[in-house]
C-alpha cells in the first residue's frame, strides 16, 4: 500500500502539491485524474522516490521513503513497476533486451531464467515477432506495449502508468487499457494510472482521485463522481475535452 501523509511539494517557489493525503491499496486500479500541470505525474515520481516532498511523508508498505537515499530506495522501487509517458525505452537495445536489461542488472538469475521471463513478457505483450527489432522501428502502440511488458519484469505488487493512452489512436488505447485490466485480473497487480481521459478512468478504474491546483478534491469510485459538488468535477464531467 502506498500512503501520502500531508504531502507538500514546491519547485522554485511554485507550489505543485498542497497537503495531499491519500491511501492507494494493493490489488486495485486507482486512477489519478486532473488537468495538465495539476501535479499528476509528480505524484508518481513521489511514489517511486524519484523526487522528495518538501514536507510530509510518502510511505510504501508502512515504510516512510520520503527521506531515503538512492541506495535505500532501489529495493523499494523494485516492488513497483512504471510505464513512463514517453515509454523511456533504451533506443539502442532491441525489444527483448529492453525487457531483460533490468533483470540482468539487478537480479542474480541464471541466463535461462532471464530468457524465460523475457519470453513470458513478450508473449504477454504480444510482441514475440518484434523481439529483435529496435524500439524506433515500432508503432506508438507497440512501443507502449514494450514499456508495459517491461514494467512487471520484477514481479512487483503495483504498476504505475503515466498517461498510458496519451498520443494513441482509439484502437491502440483500448488494447492498452485491456492489458492493464488483464494485469490486474490475472496477476492481481495493483495499478496507479495517471490520466486526463475520463473514458479511460470509467472503463478500468476501481477508485478515482481528482487533483485540481495541487489539491485532492475527490477520492471515491468513478460512479460517485456524478455526486461530487466541486465545480471543477462538475464542469469536467460536463465537458471532458476542456482538459
Amino acid at each position: 500500500m502506498i500512503e501520502f501523509k500531508d504531502v507538500f511539494l514546491s519547485f522554485s517557489g511554485r507550489m505543485i502539491l498542497s497537503g495531499i493525503s491519500m491511501q492507494i491499496p494493493d490489488g486495485r486500479i486507482t486512477a489519478i485524474l486532473g488537468p495538465s500541470g495539476s501535479g499528476k505525474s509528480t505524484i508518481i515520481k513521489l511514489m517511486l522516490g524519484l523526487i522528495q516532498p518538501t514536507y510530509g511523508n510518502v510511505c510504501v508498505d508502512g515504510v516512510d521513503i520520503s527521506r531515503f537515499s538512492e541506495e535505500q530506495l532501489f529495493p523499494i522501487r523494485r516492488t513497483m513497476g512504471i510505464v513512463f509517458q514517453g515509454n523511456a525505452l533504451f533506443d539502442s537495445m532491441s525489444v527483448s533486451d529492453n525487457m531483460g536489461f533490468f533483470l540482468r542488472e539487478n537480479l542474480d538469475l541464471p541466463p535461462g531464467e532471464i530468457e524465460r521471463r523475457v519470453h513470458d513478457q513478450l508473449q504477454f505483450a504480444g510482441l514475440e515477432l518484434q523481439a529483435h527489432q529496435l524500439p524506433d522501428s515500432l508503432s506508438g502502440g507497440m512501443r507502449k506495449r514494450v514499456a508495459i511488458g517491461r514494467a512487471p519484469i520484477f514481479e512487483p505488487k503495483m504498476i504505475l502508468f503515466d498517461e498510458p493512452t496519451a498520443g494513441l489512436d482509439p484502437v491502440s488505447s483500448k488494447k492498452i487499457l485491456d492489458v492493464i485490466k488483464q494485469l490486474n485480473q490475472d496477476k492481481q497487480l495493483g495499478a496507479v494510472m495517471v490520466t486526463h481521459v475520463i473514458s479511460d478512468v470509467i472503463s478500468v478504474a476501481d477508485t478515482v482521485l481528482v487533483l485540481y491546483q495541487g489539491k485532492l478534491i475527490f477520492h471515491d469510485t468513478p460512479e460517485k463522481m456524478q455526486e461530487c459538488d466541486h465545480p471543477f468535477v462538475q464542469s469536467f464531467l460536463a465537458d471532458p475535452e476542456q482538459l
Binding site: 500531508d6 507538500f8 514546491s10 517557489g13 507550489m15 498542497s18 497537503g19 515520481k45 517511486l48 524519484l50 518538501t54 514536507y55 510530509g56 538512492e70 541506495e71 530506495l73 532501489f74 529495493p75 522501487r77 523494485r78 513497483m80 513497476g81 512504471i82 513512463f84 509517458q85 514517453g86 523511456a88 525505452l89 533504451f90 533506443d91 533490468f102 542488472e105 539487478n106 519484469i153 520484477f154 495541487g214 489539491k215
Partner: protein
C-alpha cells in the same frame, strides 16, 4: 497622491500573495518562501507607489526636491532589485556546486562496481580512446609543424636555429601536446557525453534506470570516467610523439635542419619534470571533462533545446577549467621539481 488605480493594484497584489502563500502553510517548514514572498510584495508595493508618484507628482526632469527624491528612491529600488538578482545567481551557483560535489562523490564511490560494468568500460574506452585517435593525430601534427615553423623563423634571427628542436620539444611535451589533446577530447568526448546523457535525461531513460533500481551514475558515468582515466594518458603520449615527429619533418624540409641536430637538441634537454607535467595533465583533464560533461547531461532540462544548452555548457565549462588546471599543474610541478 496615491490614486485609486494604485490602491487597486496594491490590493490585487495582496490578494495574489494571500492566494499563493496561504495554501503552502506557514507551519509546514516553508517560512523562507513566506519571507521571500513578503520581501517581493513590499518591494512591489513600494515600487508601484514610487512609480505613481513620479508619474503624477514628481517630475524627475524638474530639479525640484520631490524630483531628486523620486530619482534617489527609484535608484535605491533598482539597486535592491539588482542585489536580489545577484543573490539569486549566487544561490544557484552555490547550489550547483553542491550538487556537483555530491555527483562527483557518488561517481567516486561507484568505482566499486568496476568489475560489474567492465563491458561498458571497454565500450567507452573504444569510444573515447580508439575513436579519438584521428582527431588527436591531426591536431597534434598541425600544432607540432606550426610550432616548428614559427620557432625556427624566430630563432633564425638570433642565429640559433639549431635550438628549434629543444624549444619545440619543451613546448609540445609540457604544454601544447596535453592541452591540445585535452581541448580536442573536451570537444569530442565531452560533447558526446553531454548530448547522450542529456537526451537520456529528457526522454526519461535516466529516471527509468532509477525507477527500476539501477544506479545511473554507476552505469553511465563511472565507465566513462574510468575509460577516460585509462585512455587520455596514451592519447596525450601519442599526441606528444606525433607533434615532435611532425616538427622534425618540418625542421628538415622547411628549415633545412639536420634530423640529428633536431632530435639531439629535442631529447637531450628534456628533464624528468617535463614528462611528469605531461603525464599528470591527462588524468586531471579526464576527471574534469568527464565529470563536467556528464553532470551537465544529467542536469539537462527543457526538451531538445535544453540538451543543446547543457552540451554547450559542458564543453565551455570543461574547456575553461582545462586551461586553468593546465596552468596550475605546470606551475606546481615545474616550480617544485628540480630534476
Amino acid at each position: 497622491m496615491v490614486t485609486f488605480r494604485t490602491v487597486f493594484t496594491v490590493l490585487q497584489a495582496v490578494g495574489l500573495f494571500v492566494a499563493r502563500y496561504s495554501q503552502c502553510g506557514l507551519l509546514h517548514g516553508l517560512e523562507p518562501q513566506f519571507f521571500a514572498g513578503c520581501s517581493q510584495l513590499y518591494r512591489g508595493i513600494f515600487s508601484l507607489v514610487i512609480d505613481r508618484w513620479i508619474e503624477r507628482v514628481a517630475n524627475p526632469l524638474v530639479c525640484s526636491f520631490s524630483g531628486v527624491l523620486a530619482i534617489l528612491l527609484r535608484m535605491w529600488l533598482w539597486t535592491g532589485n539588482y542585489a536580489e538578482r545577484l543573490n539569486e545567481r549566487m544561490k544557484n551557483f552555490v547550489q550547483t556546486m553542491q550538487e556537483f560535489f555530491w555527483f562527483s562523490l557518488r561517481t567516486a564511490r561507484s568505482f566499486r562496481f568496476t568489475r560489474r560494468y567492465w563491458t561498458e568500460i571497454l565500450d567507452q574506452m573504444y569510444i573515447c580512446g580508439t575513436e579519438s585517435v584521428p582527431i588527436v593525430l591531426v591536431s597534434s601534427l598541425a600544432i607540432g609543424c606550426l610550432l616548428t615553423v614559427e620557432v625556427g623563423n624566430q630563432l633564425e634571427g638570433f642565429g640559433a636555429k639549431l635550438l628549434t628542436g629543444r624549444t619545440t620539444a619543451l613546448s609540445v611535451i609540457r604544454e601544447m601536446g596535453p592541452i591540445v589533446t585535452g581541448l580536442m577530447l573536451s570537444a569530442r568526448v565531452g560533447a558526446r557525453n553531454g548530448a547522450e546523457l542529456g537526451a537520456m535525461r529528457i526522454s526519461e531513460q535516466i529516471d527509468a534506470l532509477r525507477a527500476f533500481g539501477t544506479d545511473p551514475i554507476a552505469l553511465l558515468v563511472m565507465p566513462r570516467l574510468f575509460a577516460a582515466l585509462v585512455m587520455f594518458f596514451p592519447l596525450t603520449a601519442l599526441s606528444n610523439f606525433v607533434g615532435l615527429v611532425g616538427g622534425g619533418f618540418v625542421a628538415q624540409l622547411y628549415h633545412h635542419i639536420d634530423p640529428g641536430y633536431y632530435w639531439n637538441s629535442a631529447l637531450n634537454q628534456l628533464l624528468v619534470k617535463d614528462f611528469v607535467v605531461s603525464a599528470v595533465k591527462p588524468f586531471a583533464f579526464a576527471i574534469i571533462i568527464t565529470l563536467v560533461s556528464c553532470f551537465n547531461g544529467f542536469s539537462a532540462s527543457g526538451g531538445t533545446a535544453g540538451v543543446g544548452r547543457s552540451t554547450i555548457k559542458g564543453i565551455v565549462v570543461s574547456s575553461g577549467l582545462l586551461l586553468v588546471a593546465n596552468f596550475y599543474i605546470s606551475k606546481l610541478v615545474l616550480e617544485n621539481m628540480n630534476f
